[in-house]
């Protein structure tokens, strides 16, 4: 029983990682209705920026917020410069550009920072809270920050005119233009936000898995699974999905099929959700009446 509990707790810790990346994915989807394959690499790159700032002597929190700001700007620039020209094209051209971006960011990060793993500092105390051995303080802190991000996002989308406009622009760009929303900028803003959230995710993930250019490679697939499970248009669902995937992966890996087939679990989960319940657990199914 204790072993089981330990697996669940450590699954929650990993789930927190998936949740934060899944959240960024959901974010871009909210703003653009696209699933960004390069999301993981963008987060990784942001984390390197934070690492450079901290190494240049900046205090942690200053670096933290500056990185978020830089990432936000970076996301906007990427949308304006790289995504924009192909946006009107086919889905395929968008996917191809995403893949190109993924490859470029990964290679450039390796080129600048080398592939050796780097420790990344945590803002949380090293001592575990409540004397438990399975969830570190950082793990808990990261989960708390993720939840805070979800809450503020929820509030932003729910209560601010800008948030509402972003949702409208993603959902029905033509109508959004008719009410005077600058749809192009909303998308760019969505990318900025997603990049900023990705940066937070990266900075929360890196102390756990260490910083290296391939840091997100393994995480991205699970984050996809989490986002889809929770519902690709639901930030809250993404977080819950992340925890479910984290725990499920541990339990299935430990008790059912062994650790060698964990990726297959993610594969089955992705395809299963897409087929059985494409809107995910918390996604909204739109009832249309004409």
């Amino acid at each position: 029983m204790e072993a089981f509990l330990a697996q669940v707790l450590s699954g929650l810790a990993t789930g927190g990682i998936y949740a934060s990346v899944a959240l960024a994915l959901v974010m871009i989807h909210q703003a653009t209705h696209l699933v960004n394959f390069a999301q993981g690499e963008m987060a990784m790159f942001s984390t390197y920026i934070a690492w450079s700032l901290i190494h240049a002597g900046m205090p942690y929190w200053a670096a933290f917020f500056l990185t978020i700001a830089i990432s936000f700007a970076g996301g906007v620039v990427i949308e304006r410069v790289i995504i924009r020209p192909v946006e009107k094209g086919s889905v395929l051209s968008v996917v191809v550009v995403f893949i190109g971006l993924l490859v470029i960011l990964n290679a450039v990060a390796g080129w600048i920072y080398s592939f050796t793993v780097k420790p990344f500092p945590s803002p949380f105390p090293a001592e575990p809270l409540f004397g438990n051995h399975y969830l570190s303080s950082h793990g808990l802190g990261a989960i708390a920050i993720t939840l805070m991000v979800v809450l503020s996002l929820w509030a932003f989308f729910r209560f601010t005119p800008l948030g509402l406009a972003m949702r409208a622009a993603a959902q029905n760009p033509a109508s959004a233009r008719l009410v005077g929303i600058r749809v192009g900028w909303m998308k760019a803003l969505g990318w900025g936000l997603a990049a900023a959230i990705g940066a937070i995710a990266g900075m929360m993930v890196a102390p756990i898995v260490y910083l290296d250019p391939n840091m997100m490679a393994g995480i991205l697939l699970y984050a996809f699974a989490a986002a889809l499970l929770g519902g690709i248009d639901s930030p809250f669902g993404a977080v819950v999905g992340g925890f479910i995937v984290g725990v499920l992966e541990n339990l299935v890996g430990t008790y059912v099929i062994g650790n060698e087939l964990k990726l297959t679990v993610a594969l089955v989960l992705i395809i299963g959700v897409l087929i059985v319940k494409p809107s995910g657990l918390f996604g909204r199914t739109v009832v249309q009446r004409v």
């Binding site: 005119p161 509402l164 406009a165 949702r167 409208a168 959902q171 029905n172 033509a174 109508s175 959004a176 233009r177 008719l178 009410v179 005077g180 929303i181 600058r182 749809v183 248009d233 909204r284 739109v286 009832v287 249309q288 009446r289 004409v290």
Partner: protein, 237 residues
Amino acid sequence: MAELLRVEGLEAGYGPVPVLHGIDLALEEGGIATLLGANGAGKTTTLRAVCGMVKTRGAIRFRGEGIEKRSTEDIARMGIAHVPDGRGTFTDLSTEENLRLGGYVRADRAAVAQSMEQMYAYFPKLAERRRQQAGTLSGGEQQMLAVARALMSKPRLLLLDEPSFGLAPLIVAGIFEILRTINREERVAILLVEQNAAMALDLADHAFLLETGRIVMSGPAARMREDETVRRSYLGY
């Protein structure tokens, strides 16, 4: 009465297919004009052209200013509200959120809230459905929502594309009644595209008849109603 909208030599189309071949029309402040014509005559395209949703040639002047090169967003911000065919409802959002979006371009929050109450007064049905997801509203309610959303921006000109489409006659009558009230009380000019020519001519004070992308006849609504061709082709008696 000052001129609100003037269109001269307007040509437009989709890709290589031209739809409009040089349209001229004008609308006065606070006036109501209707575009009549068969399916495919170019009525919807004319409305889209006015708010920059299709590529155009020719001049479009709104309150004396050329807007033919402006983006849809800018045109909306200048005071032209368009209720497109299919109503353009934000189906995933609630009724209230749809209305809030209508007032998106207005800076004065208090005034927006006031407008919202006013809309609920015009359309009490919408007040009941305030929190409901707009996609789940009935067709008539969605049409009301579309009109209300357009009015939320306090437009000078309302472009209405087939507001009666797919609705029961009783509901259509209700909507037209409200349009009349709004026109009177808010001094909003209306450019109306409508299949139901009888109702349109009833509401409008001026009418244009479109055939294959050209205006073939125009004049005061009352006179158009008397015209033989119009009567036979569009009024059906």
